[in-house]
């Protein structure tokens, strides 16, 4: 008979064994001690954080016949019956398989019967988010005033799907992701009990891979025990996960910095031949680049690094500009995404590598977004139509494009203000404006700071109409200026123009292919899409 999975074997049997959820277990323990047990609970949180486990513990604790304080005792008849999964009064329902209203009606009919042996009849409804709306509604009355001998415990990973009327009738407990040390601690405990010897570094990699889910971590440990040798080593974990050694990752990043495509491709290929999983490798590269970015931003202490690793990373970080790093991270992130469905196992990774080493897009290829500082400032801003800094040939007379050195901006900036700071804080500016005038704010969502001319901040609009409206409307301009003053303690004037988008449009109109389309077929240019990355 094959052994039971470790994560089932080591399902906690007491509250103190539930790792990392003290805020939940303490509350529950106190409630038990004071005999203030609610009739309905909702346990929510990510996978593998102890929801079902705690639900079963609670079921055991309320029914435990022991006279002692520490419940559950795990020795009385009821506790043992639950541990052996044969107590009739603990009813565990898989809501994901029994989603319908009829299942709930059936449950409702049986709720009134008194428990057979235990004190309470406990219903654990797992994966409760999958119940249908009708099923939830059918449950409402019972849930609000159940018979005194009934306790409901809901468990779910997806609390958004639960109607507010249900949530307001239950006590809600949020389980959090476990931290790295917590997982390591539990793994060490299990390893000791199982007589396994595991390298600390291996444990840490396992814990890291589990991203806060205890079950994933234990499951991985379980898988590694099958390797059979005396000690579980870091190399074995890497082998199983397809993780490349950190050496390879940092080498690839160095090649990226030095724009050495051929060498980079060879490194990736040999890592993959050596058993690394392309997706895992791409993910590690992203992770490494992220560390570089953090180091560069001066928040390196968030990373727990040894001194030598930090020195090495700082050296690599020096070879990248911040924009480059962000761009590269994007490319590799996309590769991780594409690798999920790509038929060719390494192609997306190779493409990312080549793209990352390419020079920044040059003028004729204005179709791809230039490395505007905007990307650095607000990577999360959902602005796919971000104004493209003017291609040099179309607006030669204008002030330097923002893609030029930031120093140039500082020189002609309004006091301490630069286009970067403005862009970075544009959403905040809008927030201030919103307090005064919602319509103005809505219109201004169409705009973004483009450049600074003397003491004037130039806003680029996507629509001629909006630009004109603000340019001619003294009140509107005053509002923007007021907001800027309020945020930056800096007097400034605002100028509203059509964004460089227009320049691009002109360029498009001159394209022979488009001209032919217009002339031959009477086509009309309605929208200009830039190529998606």
């Amino acid at each position: 008979m094959p052994a039971q999975a470790l994560y089932l074997k080591y399902r906690p049997h007491t509250f103190s064994e539930v790792e990392g959820q003290a805020h939940v277990t303490t509350t529950l323990k106190n409630a038990l001690a004071l005999n203030r047990i609610a009739h309905a609970y909702l346990f929510e949180g990510p996978r593998g954080t102890g929801k079902t486990t705690t639900a079963r513990l609670l079921a055991k604790a309320v029914n435990c016949e022991s006279t002692e304080q520490a419940k559950p005792c795990n020795t009385c008849a009821v506790c043992q019956a639950i541990n052996e999964e044969r107590l009739l009064d603990l009813i565990e329902i898989d809501a994901a398989s029994n989603t319908g209203v009829d299942d709930i009606r059936d449950l409702r009919d049986k709720v009134d019967f008194r428990p057979s042996t235990a004190r309470y009849k406990v219903y654990i409804i797992d994966e409760v988010h999958m119940l249908s709306t009708a099923a939830f509604n059918a449950l409402l009355k019972t849930l609000e005033e159940p018979p005194p001998h009934v306790i409901f415990i809901f468990a779910t990973t997806d609390p958004q799907k639960i109607p507010a009327t249900v949530i307001s009738r239950v006590q809600r407990f949020v389980f959090r992701r476990l931290t790295l040390p917590e997982i390591v601690e539990r793994l060490t405990e299990i390893a000791t009990k199982e007589n396994l010897r595991v390298e600390p570094a291996a444990l840490e990699l396992i814990a890291r891979q589990a991203t806060g889910a205890m079950r994933d971590a234990i499951s991985l440990l379980d898988q590694l025990t099958a390797y059979g040798s005396d000690e579980i080593t870091l190399a074995q974990v890497q082998g199983l996960l397809g993780a490349a050694s950190s050496q390879v990752v940092s080498q690839v990043v160095v090649q990226l910095a030095e724009k050495n495509v051929a060498q980079g491709l060879t490194l990736v290929a040999s890592a993959v031949d050596g058993g690394a999983d392309p997706k895992q490798l791409a993910r590690e590269i992203v992770e490494y680049l992220r560390s570089l970015l953090l180091l560069k931003a001066g928040s390196g202490e968030a990373l727990t690094l040894t001194a030598e690793a930090q020195a090495e990373m700082l050296a690599s970080a020096g070879k990248f500009s911040a924009e480059q790093l962000v761009r590269t991270i994007r490319l590799f992130n996309q590769a991780v995404y594409d690798l999920r469905t790509s038929a060719h196992p390494t192609l997306p990774l190779e493409i990312a590598l080549v793209e990352a080493t390419l020079e920044e897009p040059v003028a004729p290829r204005a179709a791809t977004p230039p490395p505007a500082p905007h990307h650095v400032a607000a990577p999360s801003t959902p602005a796919p139509r971000a104004p493209v800094p003017p291609a040099k040939k179309t607006q030669p007379a204008d002030a330097p494009a923002p893609s030029d050195a930031p120093a140039a901006n500082d020189a002609n900036g309004v006091g301490a203000l630069s286009v970067e700071t403005l862009r970075e804080n544009w959403m905040r500016v809008l927030g201030v404006i919103r307090q005064y005038n919602k319509i103005a704010e809505a219109l201004l969502r169409d705009a973004e700071p483009v450049r600074i001319e003397g003491d004037q901040i130039v806003l680029g609009f996507h629509h001629q109409l909006h630009a004109e409206r603000f340019e001619q409307d003294a009140k509107g301009k005053a509002l923007i200026e007021k907001a800027l003053t309020q945020l930056f303690q800096q007097k400034c004037r605002v100028k509203c123009v059509l964004s460089p988008e227009r320049a691009k449009r002109k360029a498009v109109e001159q394209d022979p292919l488009i001209q032919a389309a217009v002339n031959l077929m009477g086509a009309e240019i309605t929208e200009i899409h830039k190529d998606m990355e």
């Binding site: 008979m1 094959p2 052994a3 999975a5 089932l8 990510p46 996978r47 593998g48 898989d94 994901a96 398989s97 989603t99 797992d126 994966e127 988010h129 999958m130 990973t157 889910a213 079950r215 994933d216 499951s219 379980d222 898988q223 025990t225 099958a226 390797y227 059979g228 199983l240 397809g242 495509v261 051929a262 491709l265 060879t266 290929a269 993959v272 031949d273 058993g275 999983d277 997706k279 594409d338 690798l339 999920r340 469905t341 790509s342 038929a343 060719h344 196992p345 390494t346 192609l347 190779e350 493409i351 080549v354 793209e355 390419l358 290829r365 292919l513 032919a516 190529d531 998606m532 990355e533």
Partner: protein, 332 residues
């Protein structure tokens, strides 16, 4: 694989496995082998000779069920006939909640003739939300006599709570040399064909075997590449006409996209002198010519355009329009 073999040796088999990897890399083959190992009464498991092993190899074993998605719009109930076999790797299918419910009902019974009930669910990424959720509890604590094996392209395509309950084994691509040897020695493929197939397979032995048995796969590839090569020298009118012809056979398009991508990847590698990793090795001369003809940026543009088209095609965009745009974007 060593990990699996050792778990077998130590009788430490997990109750649920998830095998991940690209299509035709050997996930189901491995799942069958695992099933055989479980059911085979012989000491040298799996023997491949006994009735149980043979039944499993032919998918006839009463206790080994292989479950697959049904075509979109297929009504599934207990009495429905088995779904037709897949037309190609890109056909869209769904695993429905009724299939999972039936499965749950089945595994509640003891196996008929062997020690285990083995459930193999192929391509679990095709399970719809209800089905995946319905499977969670079963997957975590299945009945004692049950072993569940899921296969999927990638763990991240599944509900995160699914891989969390399984032992995940990611199958890795094989090196071309390994595939070449395997093809020659175990499937008796001619040396030259084996060499080409091994490079084309992208590490997927299953694909290489399929291609060696079914010449249609290679013929299709030739046609797709020929179309690509021809279109690079065409004028606008011919391109538009070609897009129309190509769009008519839209079930072939995903395959065509893959071949086109692999072509440009090879051009890229050739340009960087990395000829060893090229996959289309039977077109070396053309590759070299293209590598000399196009700039790095053009190649990258082409790759990007093709990938974008692939995304568009997956999103129900008119294939003809998408292809017209793609062909016009390809460098001349």
């Amino acid at each position: 694989m060593h990990a699996l073999a050792r778990s077998l040796a130590k009788d430490r088999l997990a109750h649920a496995y998830l095998f991940t990897g690209p299509h035709a890399i050997g996930k189901t083959t491995l799942a069958r082998a695992l099933a055989q190992t479980l059911e085979c009464p012989d000491t040298a498991r799996p023997c491949g000779e006994c009735i149980a092993c043979k039944k499993i190899a032919r998918d006839r074993h009463p206790d080994v069920q292989i479950i697959e998605g049904v075509p979109v719009g297929f009504k599934f109930d207990e009495k429905s006939p088995p779904p037709p076999p897949r037309a190609n790797d890109w056909e869209r299918r769904i695993i429905k909640i009724d299939q999972i419910r039936l499965l749950q009902h089945d595994i509640s019974r003891a196996p008929f003739e062997s020690p285990w009930r083995v459930i193999i669910v192929r391509r679990f990424e095709e399970a719809n939300e209800e089905a995946a959720n319905a499977f969670l509890k079963t997957l975590e604590e299945p009945p004692a006599h049950t072993r569940i094996i899921l296969t999927a392209r990638d763990a991240s395509l599944l509900l995160p709570t699914i891989p969390s309950r399984c032992q995940v084994l990611a199958l890795r691509p094989l090196a071309p040399a390994q595939i070449q040897t395997a093809l020659r020695e175990r499937w008796g493929v001619a040396a030259e064909t084996a060499r080409v197939l091994a490079h084309l397979a992208g590490g997927r032995l299953g694909w290489a075997i399929r291609a060696s048995e079914n010449p249609r796969l290679l013929e299709a590839r030739h046609a797709h590449l020929a179309a690509l090569h021809a279109t690079l020298t065409e004028g606008h009118n011919e391109k538009i006409l070609r897009a129309e012809t190509l769009a008519k056979k839209d079930e072939d398009l995903p395959e065509m996209i893959e071949w086109w991508l692999s072509w440009w990847r090879d051009v890229l590698l050739t340009q960087h002198g990395d000829a060893a990793r090229v996959s289309n090795i039977d077109f070396e001369d053309t590759l070299r010519a293209h590598a000399a003809r196009f700039t790095l940026e053009q190649i990258q543009d082409a790759l990007q355009a093709i990938r974008q088209t692939a995304r568009q095609l997956a999103q129900n965009i008119n294939p003809r329009l998408a292809l017209e745009v793609l062909l016009l974007k390809l460098p001349a």
